[in-house]
Amino acid sequence: MKLRMLAHSRAGDKGNTSNISVIAYDPKDYEHLCHYVTAARVKDHFQGLVQGDVIRYELPKLGALNFVLFDALGGGVTRSLALDAHGKSLSSAMLELEIPDPPARHETISV
């Protein structure tokens, strides 16, 4: 499934660095996201767009991950030639990431 089914996201900019949050709609999915939305996967996903390293920070109390993507904004917001110089739309690219379905949860089913 696409990451969009389990998480929401917001992108921010500082100079030539973008940060993109990935926030579980349901905190129960946080561990699943930690397992599959790794810095390496994100770096690979943004191939061609992001030239530099990708660092991941974990925020278990929020059920959220924060990705910092270096050399990601065409030399920086103020000088970039990109249509979206701030990289605001990168959050939507993040949510296109394909991840496995989360494990089925054991819920009581009344018949």
């Binding site: 929401h8 921010g12 500082k14 926030i23 061609g48 767009l49 929020l62 924060n66 103020t78």
Partner: protein
């Protein structure tokens, strides 16, 4: 326990004005804060000031103050803003004239200056954080250098009775942290309180971005009434505990999800968010929905400040020229691609020197490149050619070459647009805070 209510009246310089009026009239506020300075704004304002010495402050200052000052004065709401940009003194003179014309004589206004550190930066041996180049190498291309000031001059202005505080460059969260320190008497080495106060400022400074703006995604994250989006109110107690809310009946929503998105907005390491007065730690923050549009945010902490201030350096960095043209219907993508190839060849034939360029098809690959594309035949595409040049004349020729596609290019190209502009780029250096001397000037309307 004493509680202070702070409203955020703007999240950027061009923001909507009515939500600020709504806050002033119905928000039961103690403070109304307007954060209006983006990275590059102050460099642009500095250029304006060089042309006209009484300009260089926010172009919407008059409209905003006219809209909110009557209600703020009547209700005793103090206003704090960085709309002074490159010229807080001129902004204060303007604000005083506005206050008098509104019948608000006697309004105490403070101008905070000292963020302009161009001389200090040029005198020293500083390297740009982003590229490692020496500031001195920018030579006469440098336009501005402004340090992100901390809370101290704002706190002092409030203590002296200012009802309107107009600053230039100040760390955005400091606009909110300052009134908390003034009201609650927090010590300047109470790092955890300063850290939680930074959480307050960080969450509120982008105004509508925490009340449902920059958030909606139909079917996944639905938000009602964004055309009437309400701006946020932060209720803060002496411990720094924050409740984010908004005026009842306004559009948008305050939820755990909106607060989490904004908490991480423009944050790198959540354990170390560098501010002039504290290194804030957001890693242990929790959010809790108390009721509809009432979310409690607690757990911000802090570590001692570094003693260095970030300085934004604005400088002229060449020119950008751009042209656009649209194609639609069957074969739109192929005609757009043909048009791109033609422009590329024309720019070579006519020897336009571009240091860097983009040849995009909007609707296909302009935002995220080609790597992630699954849809390949959009109904319409918009060609976009943009390049960086050394001279304005060359930048103009890029748009011109796109425009000539009208009569020389593929069939059915419509809606040409062209532009050329000087680029004002921004990089940063770190400056020892001892080299920065903020000052306050008081004026009575």
């Amino acid at each position: 326990m004493k509680t202070i209510r702070i409203g955020a009246g703007a999240g950027y310089s061009g923001d909507r004005i009515e939500p600020a009026v709504e806050l002033a009239e119905q928000g039961a506020l103690h403070y109304l804060v307007f954060e209006c300075l983006a990275e590059r704004t102050i460099a642009l304002a500095q250029q304006a000031k060089r042309q006209h010495p009484e300009s260089g402050y926010d172009p919407l200052l008059e409209a905003r103050l006219r809209a909110v000052l009557p209600a703020c004065r009547a209700k005793g709401i103090k206003v704090i803003t960085n709309m002074g940009a490159a010229n807080p003194e001129a902004a204060v003179r303007k604000a005083a004239a506005i206050a008098r014309s509104l019948g608000l004589a006697g309004l105490k206004i403070a101008a905070i200056t000292g963020d302009d550190v161009l001389t200090a930066v040029q005198r020293g041996h500083y390297r740009l954080e982003e590229t490692g180049d020496l500031v001195a190498d920018l030579a006469n291309r440098i336009i501005s250098a402004n340090a992100y000031l901390g809370v101290a001059p704002i706190v002092a202005a409030l203590a002296a009775g200012a009802e309107l505080v107009i600053t230039g460059r100040v760390a955005d969260p400091a606009l909110f942290l300052a009134p908390l320190i003034h009201e609650f008497g927090w010590a300047m080495d109470d790092w955890d309180r300063l850290g939680q106060g930074t959480v307050v400022g960080h969450l509120l400074e982008c105004a509508g971005q925490i009340t449902g703006g920059y958030f909606a995604d139909p079917g996944f994250k639905d938000v009602a009434n964004l055309a009437r989006l309400g701006f946020p109110i932060g209720e803060v107690n002496e411990q720094g505990d924050l409740i984010v809310t908004k005026v009842a009946g306004s559009g948008g929503q305050v939820t755990s999800a909106t607060c989490k998105e904004q908490l991480l907005y423009e944050i790198h390491d959540p354990n170390a968010y560098f501010q002039p007065d504290v290194v804030a730690d957001f890693s242990q923050v929790t959010v809790e929905e108390l009721a509809r549009d009432r979310v409690r945010v607690t757990g911000g902490r802090g570590k001692p400040k570094t003693g260095a201030l970030k300085v934004s350096i604005g400088y002229v960095d060449g020119y950008i020229g751009e042209g656009q043209l649209s194609y639609a219907g069957a074969g739109a993508r192929a005609r757009g691609q043909l048009a791109l190839d033609i422009v590329r060849e024309r720019l070579q034939l006519t020897q336009v020197q571009m240091h860097e360029s983009h040849f995009d098809l909007i609707g296909l690959n302009a935002l995220h490149g080609t790597e992630r594309i699954t849809e390949t035949e959009p109904y319409e595409v918009r060609l976009r050619v943009v390049g960086r040049t050394t001279s304005l004349a060359e930048a103009i020729r890029i748009g011109n070459e796109v425009e000539t596609l009208y009569t020389n290019g593929p069939a059915g190209g419509g809606g040409a647009f062209k532009a050329a502009r000087e680029v004002l780029a921004v990089q940063s250096v770190l400056l020892p805070e001892a080299l920065v001397q903020p000052s306050i000037q008081f004026t009575e309307a």
